[in-house]
């Protein structure tokens, strides 16, 4: 077990190094001179050389990478090209919003997806089954930004029930915070709820057809016990896998959903930084989101050993 955890930790660390290499190289492969882009106008060669020196762009690429990576690992992601403000501080301020959004979306999707999948599987072929499968298919195909816009159109602009966007910290008012986070979380979690529902349904149908479920029934166990203890526990393993995989989409999806609902999270910061070609902010934001994805996947993998009895017995 310890070997498995250590191996998995090592792989996660490698992935983060890989992400750092890709982010660094991609943004240093930008055609043209970053210093020229920054100055945005005709400049003297002296001024250009001075700026390149200030930004450290005149050093060899590997030296630039090592110094950037070492600073990043210490939590120093540099300064914004545009505002000169500390990138780490900007990200810290916004990270909580993104994580709250992703967490609420994930919880909503599991709360909606798992029970719907279970009822669908138990009542296979019923009207409920067909209806929920159809809604799930729509949930997978609907673009999240469109769903967000439709929700704003209905609940904010027509019914005037919820605000169109913006953010209120939970410390200020939990009620207002929840009001503002409900629609973004639903928007972000809809597709995941659909995927979780489909996976729960098919996994449960499969385990319900297994010999051990038949044996449990033959022993005279109550149906609730057969489903809850024997079938569901095994069916949940692939569901956890899919939840883990979906968390990546959720983190990526925050970029778009934050834009729709004007939430000042990391995703919105990255998009704004791309418009302004503010590379340190893009690098920092992408690094933080991608590293969060790797860490979440690590946690999901470790969670397996808790929920999968076969791993526990090993």
């Amino acid at each position: 077990m310890l070997t498995f955890i250590l191996r998995r930790l090592g792989l996660a660390a490698l992935s983060i190094v890989g992400i750092m290499v890709i982010v660094f190289l991609a943004l240093h492969a930008i055609p043209g001179d970053v210093a020229l882009i920054l100055l945005d106008q005709e400049v003297t060669p002296e001024l250009l050389a001075q700026l390149r020196n200030d930004l450290g762009l005149d050093r060899p690429l590997h030296v630039q990478f090592i110094s950037w990576a070492a600073a990043a690992l210490r939590g120093d992601l540099g300064e914004s090209f545009r505002t000169g403000s500390d990138v780490t501080a900007q990200l810290v301020r916004r990270y909580g919003i993104t994580i709250q959004l992703a967490a609420m979306a994930s919880v909503l999707s599991v709360v909606i997806g798992v029970p719907t999948g279970i009822i669908s599987a138990i009542k296979r072929g019923s009207t409920f089954d067909y209806a929920s499968r159809t809604v799930a298919l729509l949930g997978i195909s609907i673009p999240n930004f469109w769903l967000g816009i439709l929700l704003i159109l209905l609940f904010s602009l027509q019914l005037r029930l919820l605000p169109t966007g913006g953010y209120v910290p939970p410390g200020e008012s939990l009620m207002l915070n929840m009001q503002r986070m409900l629609m973004p979380s639903l928007t972000l979690g809809a597709a995941m709820a659909a995927v979780v529902m489909r996976m729960t349904r098919s996994a449960l149908l499969e385990t319900l057809a297994q010999d051990y479920t038949r044996t449990a029934r033959a022993k005279g166990l109550a149906e609730r016990y057969v489903i809850g203890v024997h079938a569901l526990r095994n069916a949940l393993i692939p569901v956890i896998t899919i939840v883990g995989l979906q968390l990546g989409h959720i983190l990526g999806g925050t970029v778009v959903v934050e834009e729709v609902f004007s939430l000042p999270g990391v995703g919105r910061l990255v998009v704004r930084a791309i418009y302004q070609r503010d590379y340190p902010v893009v690098q920092g934001g992408v690094l933080v989101l991608a590293a969060s994805y790797v860490l979440i996947n690590l946690l999901v993998d470790l969670l397996y050993s808790v929920i999968d009895p076969r791993i526990k017995y090993d």
Binding site: S15, I22, A26, A29, P143, W146, L150, G252, E259, L289
Partner: protein, 281 residues
């Protein structure tokens, strides 16, 4: 009727989704190809005296803030979406298959190197990686397709590698090698045709994802650039006026959803059709 055609008819009766998927795909391709013929107006034709008109007999889906016909822009938008979807998948499919088959065929260090590179790319949420590439290359249609081609390569590489590994140990590959066939010939004539089915299914599903991703990036202003019509940017532009002109955001969103649904249908149906266990069941 040949036995294959009979099998297909029997299958499509049992799985009407494949017929629906095929018909909808065909309609979409026709709309995209015939855009200049069937579109009532030019997609960028301005008519400032008829701004934000609701749906009428002249403009079936209304007009936008510049008086441009929404239906015509949706029709031309289908071209952009399909183009991005198909070219992205071609780039990802070709790159991924070459990488996957090479990894499986040579094994050892080459396999390890390729698969670690693939793992590295997979460590990114897809839209983030696309954002990184687009930041590096700059937003444009071509760069969007390159970015998304890179993003979707790992999925094809993994499938190609997995399938190629199982085919590689078959007797007919050994026979080919025994009669003196070289690596290139074995890969091209013996391995590739035998791993096409799962790749084809992946391609169909990836087109749906690529179209969604293109719409999202264009929505963010980082994909297809105006004035070229794209469903994602139409949605973004329409947001400003949606309180009074809801049609601006309903039509493009519906177009994206129906297109994605079409390819999801097709992918699911194709998977069922090409899975021998289901064909004969």
């Amino acid at each position: 009727m040949t036995s294959r055609a009979r099998m297909f008819t029997r299958f499509s009766r049992r799985h009407p989704a494949i017929v629906l998927g095929l018909v909808l795909t065909l309609v979409l391709i026709l709309v995209a190809t015939l855009a200049p013929v069937i579109s009532p107006y030019q997609p960028n034709e301005l008519n400032l005296s008829n701004r934000l008109s609701p749906p009428t007999g002249h403009h079936l889906l209304g007009t936008d803030e510049f008086g441009r016909d929404i239906l015509s822009r949706i029709i031309y938008g289908a071209r952009a979406s399909l183009q991005v979807g198909v070219i992205t998948v071609v780039i990802a499919g070709v790159l991924g298959t070459i990488l996957g088959v090479t990894a499986a065929y040579y094994g050892g260090v080459i396999d390890n190197l390729i698969m670690r590179l693939i793992d590295m790319i997979l460590a990114f949420p897809t839209i983030l990686l696309a954002l990184v590439v687009i930041t590096a290359l700059g937003p444009s249609l071509t760069n969007l397709m390159i970015a998304m081609g890179i993003v979707y390569t790992p999925q094809f590489a993994r499938i190609a590698r997995g399938s190629a590994l199982s085919v590689k140990s078959s007797e007919f590959i050994e026979s080919a090698r025994a009669v003196g066939a070289g690596s290139a010939r074995i890969n091209r004539l013996h391995i590739l045709p035998n791993i096409l089915s799962p790749l084809l299914v992946q391609a169909t599903i990836s087109i749906a994802f690529a179209i969604l991703a293109e719409a999202a990036l264009s929505f963010l202003g980082l994909g297809i650039q105006p004035p070229m019509p794209s469903w994602g940017s139409m949605l973004n532009e329409g947001r400003t006026y949606m309180e009074l002109s809801a049609w601006l955001v309903i039509a493009p969103g519906l177009a994206i959803m129906l297109t994605v649904l079409t390819f999801n249908f097709l992918g699911d149906a194709l998977r069922d059709y090409l899975d021998p266990r289901l064909v004969h069941s």
